[in-house]
Amino acid sequence: MTAEKLPGEEKTVSEPVTDPEASPKAGVEREDAQADPVLTPAVGEEATPIALRKGMWSEGAGDTSGYSRIVRATDWPAPSEPPFGSWYDQVHARLATLVADPYTKVVLDRGELTFHIPREKLSEAMQALRDDALLRFEFCASVSGVNYPDDVGAELHVAYHLQSMTHNRRLRVETSCPDADPHVPSVVAIYPAADWHERETWDMFGIIFDGHPHLTRILMPDDWVGHPQRKDYPLGGIPIEYKGTTVPPVEARRSYR
């Protein structure tokens, strides 16, 4: 706001502004000065966008935020190239000598090293990671599934969090499988600790761990239909009437994303 603005002065320009050099006059706010019908998101060259989002609010909601045409891309952390520094290079090179061409992608982000390993090589790589004296990731802390519906051909990811107590290092191994063929080899024979974690991942995401000794549901009832933590599985809930007004279930509410 500038001091020249007069009380009651016209604040809005209703016609589209065509002159690219045009700048707002004093006291005038350009509410619809952007005429471009499709806004292309700014995406870096190395970034790997997976999801594109339009508007500010959840899907299907009438977007009155004023940003209904904005398009935002989800840039996952870009793949890293060696040298990574610290102990990362040693582990990266060592695994590559033990297993032929093990990586689809290596991501070093926020101090956490992630090896993306194709599922065909997972068992071999995990065995090497556990047993080799220079790697020695003898402890599998956690297995957790993630569902990326927009990552076509690799909708289901499994992240293994390994810990080397010998070297005091942590490493994440990530593998993926398509929705149409949700099979990943089990690592229970290598890391018995993964037993229940893989059962939970099957239960919640429907990922079938081939070779698991007893792949049954663990958290949900045995006769449950569906895999609740997949993104296409609804949260559920019913509208609640409270003091004369109705509160919709969380999923149906309009909210920012």
């Binding site: 997976i50 999801a51 989800t74 956690s142 993630v146 942590r170 600790a193 958290l219 949900m220 933590q229």
Partner: protein, 448 residues
């Protein structure tokens, strides 16, 4: 009474296995018992739980016994599954703390800390957390560790008949919970640790109350050692029970006091410090018996180490009175300032005055944070911390939105229950309770 091989309740085509007992023809249970006494091949299948006072919540144990010897035991979990991880995907990042705190409800502050540290790593603000906020986190976590160990020791004692250990355990815990209530407003489910810091500074009387708690604990913690350490009944029930050695711990992902009871000094506070633990002076407690008694002794001594840390944190907090407890970033710092109103809680007049009368930007930030929340850059983080039970970790994935894309809590109890068969098979039926007690699972965390 009919003893028959035909199972009347089987579906057509079902194979009948073993002897089927029905009450169709009447008879006497004594006849059955008498007949069974003659046999040596009968396996007794017992369903222990899910509603059983000694299973620490709703844990189901499917036990096969030969006499009183356990030949097979399989834990069944999931009875307390509440879908917390799924729910968090529909709430803002800050609201996530109110969900995670309800997972392992015996040590809620650790859940919050793991979650918030993971979110802070994604935000890239780990180094910007004020020192006072980290000190308060350490203080609260260590008090919470004492409270959690008191539950483990107390309920573990109760289950073998040492009722006094339970009553005094809850007495001490109550002192700690009173302090938590004074600071956070709640005895449990605090949602006190938030992304960026903590919700609110210690109250004016906080330090004084803290000294009372420390004095109380120093006076009363020796009682546990006096009651239990050399008690022949206690040792008779605990020594050699639930044996699990180091390699089995590694294989099954077992951490915490169970791992340390094998003599391996693994403690994430020392190995991979967070919240400034490297600046505190404390020891990692180990024992070398790998059994329930060793775990009891580890927990007992760890309470003293926690008390050491609490005292150091108290000194630091006394010195840093008045310093900020939330990150200096108005786009992240949740406006949680409250003042004491007639109802015991209320809006802070200072804050209301600031946003309504003084600062347009503060009002916008307040409004945007509460309605929209902050956005977290895309990526994933896995942050492990040393909870009273072992490695508690939070795997968080963000897609750049105002809500978590995926949150997974790696609860130590989930892994520890996997080791029930290795600890109990071949042992006595009565030792199951001792072994489970020494694992200290909390089903809220296991099932989430």
């Amino acid at each position: 009474m009919t003893v028959d091989r035909n199972d009347l309740y089987a579906s057509p085509g079902d194979e009948t296995e073993g002897t089927v007992y029905t009450a169709m023809g009447g008879g006497d249970w004594a006849d059955i018992a008498g007949e069974q006494a003659e046999r040596g091949d009968e396996v007794l299948v017992i369903n222990m739980g899910p509603q059983h006072p000694s299973t620490h919540g709703v844990l189901r144990l499917m036990v096969e016994c030969d006499g009183e010897t356990v030949t097979s035991i399989r834990p069944g979990i999931g009875f307390l599954h509440t879908g917390i991880e799924k729910n968090m995907e529909y709430r803002s990042w800050t609201q996530g703390t109110t969900f995670v705190t309800r997972m392992d409800y015996v040590s809620p502050l650790f859940n919050e800390a793991a979650y918030c540290l993971a979110v802070e790593r994604l935000l890239g603000i780990t180094d910007q957390i004020p020192q006072r906020a980290s000190d308060i986190r350490v203080l609260m976590m260590e008090l919470c560790r004492i409270a959690s160990h008191l539950i483990a020791i107390g309920t573990g004692g109760m289950e073998i008949g040492a009722l006094t250990v339970m009553t005094i355990g809850f007495r001490e815990r109550e002192m700690i919970l009173d302090f938590f209530e004074a600071v956070t407003g709640l005895r449990m489910n605090h949602a006190y640790i938030r992304p960026g810091g903590v919700a609110i500074d210690l109250p004016e009387t906080g330090i004084a109350q803290l000294h009372d708690v420390i004095n109380w604990l120093e006076k009363h913690l020796p009682e546990y050692a006096a009651f239990c350490n050399e008690n022949p009944i206690f040792k008779g029930r605990m020594v050699g029970v639930g044996h699990q050695d180091l390699s089995a711990c590694f294989a099954l992902g077992v951490t915490g006091p169970i791992l340390r009871s094998t003599g391996y000094a693994w403690d994430l506070r020392k190995q991979q410090p967070y919240c400034g633990y490297e600046t505190y002076d404390f020891d990692v407690i180990t024992w070398d018996t790998s059994d329930a008694y060793g775990r009891f002794r580890v927990r007992l001594d760890e309470m003293w180490e926690s008390l050491k840390i609490v005292k150091q944190a108290t000194d630091r907090l006394e010195a840093s009175t008045g310093q900020p407890v939330m990150v200096d970033d108005p786009k992240i710092a949740w406006p949680a300032t409250l003042a004491l109103g007639p109802d015991g809680q209320g809006n802070s007049h200072e804050h209301i005055k600031h946003i309504m009368g003084e600062s347009m930007e503060a009002l916008i930030h307040h409004f945007k944070l509460v309605t929209e929340g902050f956005r977290v850059p895309p990526g994933q983080a896995y942050v492990p911390i040393e909870s009273p039970k072992g490695e508690l970790a939070c795997h968080v994935v963000s897609d750049g939105g105002t809500k978590p894309f995926r949150v997974h809590m790696r609860d130590p109890g989930f892994n520890h229950l996997q080791s029930v068969p290795i600890q109990c098979e071949g042992g006595m039926l009565a030792d199951i309770v001792v072994a489970i007690g020494s694992l200290d699972p909390v089903m809220g965390g296991v099932d989430r």
